[in-house]
């Protein structure tokens, strides 16, 4: 169904992006994500994680995307965990290197 394999390890030193088949709908609480390939729904539970997810592909590493969204270094852990969950469910994929 897709070229991307499920179960890729989350490496925060790389550039990630939303899977091309994922639709994002912002909501007052954060956002809904729907993956048309796996037909799975996910939830982003605040607007900061939404901003991070939407800007991942503009940053060389996850750390720089987090910093740009205003997440302090000592606040990173829950965001990294959330991103790893999105990687495990194939919502996020590695940005192909040119």
């Amino acid at each position: 169904m897709t070229a991307h394999t499920v179960g890729v390890a989350f490496d925060p030193t790389r550039t990630w992006r939303l899977h091309p088949q994922v639709a994002v709908r912002p909501e007052p609480f954060g956002a809904l994500l729907y993956h048309f390939g796996t037909r799975k729904l996910s939830f982003l539970k605040n607007r900061t994680i939404l901003a991070v997810v939407e800007s991942l592909d503009e940053h060389p590493t996850v750390a720089s995307a987090l910093a740009a969204a205003g997440v302090d270094h000592d606040q990173e852990a829950p965001y990294l965990h959330a991103l790893s969950v999105l990687v495990a469910s194939n919502m996020l994929v590695r940005k192909e290197t040119p």
Partner: protein, 388 residues
């Protein structure tokens, strides 16, 4: 997903409603080649006021604007609408995913090839028995073979991950592992949902709904094997049987909050199991738009307010089941602020035994007796014979 900041629980957010549904059910036609005894929309004959192709496309445009991810198309048998494939293509071209439910009648090898080529269409084949004997008693003679043929055609075409959609009854609850084996055979996923006393289901619910012992059996099966099965969040009335979170899913009633139903004439109901004036929110044509009905109808506004626990207020399981299914209570003649007819604490049974007044479904599109598949020929009039 993991919670990051101390925000209200997702379920609480959803109970207040969203600006647009996550998904919705759209019954495209009341016409059907089968006459299943438990049909929740009492389908059979086409309604002559059915939305036109242009009106359906306008609905899809609106769903795209609202950010609805996908529609669950059903009926009736949606594939017998002459413009069905045109509407499916129109929806996917407009970023509205399609899942459609069918009895398999039109899933020929050619159609299966076409479906296998799309990433945005999902197919659910309805089957209510893992054997022809159990299935055909509910869905009519020949319906098992028809569904299996459709599954074979899909598998042969390379269509990945079709769904086998089962309504759990007293007679098939013992076949859950057989359904899983059937799904495995065709590279499909099993989806099981709750039998509701809606439509013609009101007439057979007493005989067909799983017994209290079977509900426990079903719950245990879901906890043990539920990660491989879809339920449409159907069994939240069973959540009180075990630890919180043991049952996968949000386990809440989404009616008018995150889901709804559009019927073939454009009437909008709170959920697919609530086709009755009591749960009619409006009409997409006479009320101007679906968006207007979703955002402003008095019924949906009321459903998004905190609901009274009523007689269930003192029960320790109320947080788990939230009083159960509104439609199941309504169509069995039970009060909406009391226990579900299949309450796991057993409070439904005495309520069912007491005097009750069961409401009739809003409209009956039945053709009378089950009519089996015949060769296609144009009907003399739109609604005086089998639509196939």
């Amino acid at each position: 997903m993991t919670s990051i900041a101390p925000v209200p629980r997702l379920v609480e957010q959803f109970e207040r409603g969203l600006d647009a549904p996550i998904c919705l059910t759209w019954e495209l036609t009341y016409a059907c080649n089968l006459a299943c005894v438990h049909c929740l929309s009492s389908s059979g004959k086409r309604d002559p006021r059915e939305l036109s192709t242009a009106q359906c496309k306008a609905v899809i445009d609106e769903l795209e604007r609202m950010g609805v991810f996908y529609v669950n198309i059903g009926g009736g048998e949606p594939t017998i609408r002459p413009d069905f494939w045109e509407l499916v293509d129109y929806a996917t071209e407009h970023h509205v995913g399609v899942k459609f439910s069918t009895n398999g009648v039109r899933i020929t090898p050619e159609v299966a090839d076409r479906l296998a080529a799309s990433d945005y269409v999902d197919v659910q084949i309805s089957l209510d028995g893992a054997t022809a004997e159990v299935n055909d008693a509910v869905r009519g003679p020949g319906s098992f073979d028809m569904a299996i043929r459709a599954l074979e055609n899909l598998a042969n075409a390379g269509f990945a991950d079709a769904k086998i959609s089962v309504v759990v009854t007293r007679h098939n609850v013992g076949q859950l592992d057989d359904f899983t084996a059937l799904a495995d055979r065709y590279g499909a996923t099993l989806r099981i949902t709750r039998l509701r006393p809606s439509g013609r289901g009101a007439d057979v619910w007493d005989e067909l709904h799983p017994t209290a012992a079977q509900q426990v059996e079903l719950y245990n099966w879901l906890v043990a094997k539920g990660d491989r099965v879809l339920t449409g969040d159907s069994f939240f009335h069973l959540a009180g049987l075990g630890a919180p979170g043991a049952l996968a899913g949000l386990n809440m009633c989404g009616a008018g909050r995150v889901v709804c139903l559009i019927d073939p004439v454009g009437d909008v109901y709170a959920c697919p199991f609530a086709i009755h004036d009591r749960f009619l929110a409006g009409n997409i044509v006479s009320d101007g738009s679906f968006d207007n009905v979703w955002k402003n109808s008095a019924l949906f506004t009321q459903l998004r307010q905190p609901q009274s626990a009523g007689a269930c207020g003192s029960c320790g399981h109320y947080d788990a089941c939230r009083g159960g299914c509104m439609a199941a209570k309504f169509f069995t003649g039970l009060p909406l602020d009391g226990p579900d007819p299949e309450c796991v604490e057993g409070y439904g049974a005495p309520a069912l035994a007491a005097a009750r007044d069961k409401p009739r479904p809003g409209a009956d599109h039945s053709r009378g007796t089950p009519i089996m598949l015949t060769l296609q020929r144009p009907p003399a009039k739109p609604c005086n014979e089998s639509p196939v």
